[in-house]
């Protein structure tokens, strides 16, 4: 792994203004991804994990005014403030996207081969013929059997797993340096999920890309990611290497999430473990720690000011919890 980060996000804040409301789905989050590294961003719905990755690249719904502050650097180039035509050139070229639902990500009335070739023509200035050849290569790369016949098919003729493989092929067509996968296996069965995750990991290693894996499922993180950012209510709660964060989570939210996953040794019919309460609704930024109302460790000071991310003793893990961090200082 190289030292220079391919994607460097620092203190990113996203404000969204609609006709009716103003919300801040991302509030001062920093992270970076190096070439050949996979970063998992884990959070529940509404935690800001998707907006954080899509807003700087201009992928926001129409009718919403997006205001960004902070810095997002891709290969040293600042994305915030970049005019839309410049960002459009990056999308699909330097940055490939994989979306949650492969059916709505594909064009239902065009053949698979054309949809892949189109990307190669657009971003690599290939002739249609060369692009078709590239499409065939890509379909082989993503492990689809009978590739020549598949290129002539339409999305509705394929199963969910095959469709997601096609979406991955399209994302790879522009030879991206960074792959952003937004819940790539959520719409798939557990059996197919394992196949797609293995494929993603495999192409990421072979093409030496950086990958951001956005997910709500702790289960898919361990096998695929090197590092993890756990998001809660627009902020990063904990980040660090997967081996550390998943094995000995420090932040009460991370601990709660991992603890909530049923284990083999849990007796049948026993209570399910989980976090009490519900996540806060998006709205005005919260003054103190957003988890405080649901947290068993909370002390009055938690509601006063936003807890900063503090490095652990071995400086690999960052945790935004004053109680956990203080305990460390005392010990």
């Amino acid at each position: 792994m190289r030292d220079e980060a391919l994607l460097n996000v620092s203190n990113l804040t996203v404000n969204l203004l609609t006709a009716k409301s103003a919300v801040r789905p991302v509030d001062g989050v920093s992270y970076s991804v190096r070439q050949g590294e996979c970063l998992a961003i884990v959070g529940e719905s509404g935690s800001g994990k998707t907006v954080m990755n899509f807003a700087p690249l201009g992928l926001m719904p129409t009718g919403v005014t997006t205001m960004l502050s902070g810095s997002v650097k891709l290969e040293g180039r600042e994305l915030i403030g970049l005019p839309e035509p410049e960002i459009q050139k990056l999308r699909g070229k330097s940055v490939g996207f994989i979306f949650q639902d492969p059916m709505s990500a594909l064009n239902p009335v065009r053949r698979i081969g054309r949809q892949i070739a189109e990307m190669a023509e657009l971003h690599l200035n290939m002739t249609p013929r060369a692009a078709e050849a590239r499409a065939l290569e890509l379909v082989k790369l993503v492990g689809i059997s009978d590739p020549v016949a598949r290129l002539r098919q339409y999305p509705h003729e394929l199963s969910g797993g095959l469709r997601q493989r096609i979406v991955i092929a399209i994302a790879l067509a522009g030879e991206p340096k960074l792959l952003i996968a937004d819940e790539p296996t959520t719409a798939l069965d557990v059996t197919v999920q394992a196949q797609i995750l293995r494929l993603l990991k495999d192409v990421q290693r072979r093409l030496d890309m950086a990958m951001v894996l956005i997910t709500h499922d702790m289960g898919v993180v361990a096998g695929a990611a090197d590092n993890i950012v756990v998001m809660y209510a627009a902020r990063a709660a904990e980040c660090g290497p997967v081996d550390k964060v998943l094995v000995s989570p420090r932040h009460p939210y991370t601990r709660g999430l991992i603890n909530a996953i049923p284990r083999r040794e849990d007796p049948i019919g026993s209570e399910f473990r989980g976090l009490p309460g519900i996540p806060p609704t998006l709205g005005a930024p919260i003054k103190g720690c957003a988890l405080a109302p649901r947290c068993e460790l909370a002390v009055p000071a938690c509601s006063n000011s936003r807890p900063p991310l503090v490095r652990s003793d071995d400086s690999s893990v960052l945790v935004a919890c004053p109680v956990v961090n203080q305990g460390k200082a005392a010990a």
């Binding site: 394992a194 209570e271 399910f272």
Partner: protein
């Protein structure tokens, strides 16, 4: 179990007309299951295996092409009119998506009241009392009553949907992926609600889900479904410890591990391919096209269900070997991959 089953499904078949003329899709094919009072039973399988169609056929949302659904020993297909409506009330459905199963324009109180009116609760005072009781049963504060369902979070909405199902005092709940649309930290709360309802009210529950870990903890027995058929069923602990159908083995082994130390060294078997089309299911055993153990005999006839231990049986010619651990769909695959 000496008690009579509250719900008994016998050789149920549901078929749909295929787009290919003259062909049928056998979504549910010769399925028999039983539910005893106050028991949570899991039904697992990949999408497209017919588990939702089975649930929908049981409550009458789809028409069975053959077979019977018996509620307390009474064949529902023999009933009609008022008698059928009365029986059906005992059988309620909880849908996956609490965002589409509730009317956004109703308040929580109205949504529950509506269910009570349909259930035949006549007087206003009685309905008011029941609404309070139901809100309490599903763990919602009475203050929620005047809020619109659209203002609630996913977990709260699912609780309202459950309260509506409970309004008619059902004996059986068919829950179709009731927590998949909910966030992880909320899931446990709703799962615990199901456990409590089962204990307090004695409602039997058919729990349709694809999350195997969730089902293991909640259900006392589990049915595994593949391409319209039940391939294995048994007590959860036994089935999870000693899965005896190659499909169950591979399905259980596909679930990812959270601990990276285990995950990195896990030689997880990758299920080969995906579920074939139910329009043209494979001959003989339906799993044979993806099964690492398949032999010629598998294509000839549908393997019968082999009893392995009390209440545990699997439809595979190798079931006895698999159960004794003499053979495994997983080891075989690792050996062939090496």
């Amino acid at each position: 179990m000496t008690q009579a089953p509250v719900l008994k499904v016998e050789n149920l078949q549901t078929r749909f007309k295929s787009v290919q003329r003259g062909k049928f899709v056998h979504a549910v094919d010769d399925v028999s299951i039983e539910l005893y009072p106050g028991e949570i039973v899991g039904l697992v399988g990949e999408s497209g295996c017919g588990k939702s169609t089975l649930g929908r056929t049981i409550v009458g949302l789809e028409k069975a092409s053959s077979g019977r659904v018996l509620l307390d020993g009474v064949d529902l297909s023999a009933l009609s009119g008022a008698a059928l409506r009365d029986s059906r009330r005992a059988l309620q459905y909880v849908f996956q998506d609490p965002y589409s199963s509730l009317n956004d324009r109703q308040t929580v109180g109205e949504a529950i009241d509506e269910a009570l009116v349909i259930a035949g609760t006549r007087t206003l005072e009685e309905r008011d009392r029941r609404t309070k009781e139901l809100l309490d049963q599903v763990g919602l504060a009475s203050a929620v009553r005047d809020r619109h369902t659209r203002e609630l979070s996913g977990g709260q909405r699912q609780r309202v949907a459950i309260a509506r199902s409970l309004a008619v005092n059902p004996r059986v709940l068919i829950c179709d992926e009731p927590v998949s649309a909910l966030d992880l930290s909320i899931r446990a709360q709703v799962m615990n609600l199901f456990l409590r309802l089962q204990k307090d009210l004695g409602v039997a529950c058919l729990f349709i889900a694809h999350d195997l870990a969730l089902v293991r903890q909640a259900a006392s027995r589990v049915y595994v479904m593949y391409l319209g058929r039940i391939v294995e069923h048994g007590p959860s602990q036994e089935l999870y410890d000693r899965p005896s159908h190659p499909y169950s083995q591979m399905l259980l082994a596909s679930a990812p591990e959270v601990d990276p130390r285990i995950e990195k060294h896990r030689r997880g078997p990758l299920m080969i391919g995906e579920v074939p089309s139910p329009t043209n299911p494979p001959s003989g055993c339906r799993f044979r096209t993806r099964c690492p153990l398949a032999v010629d005999d598998c294509a000839k006839a549908m393997p019968p269900s082999h009893g392995l231990s009390p209440g545990h049986s699997a439809a595979c010619i190798f079931a006895a070997d698999l159960h004794r651990g003499k053979r495994s769909a997983l080891l075989h695959q690792e050996a062939s991959a090496a």
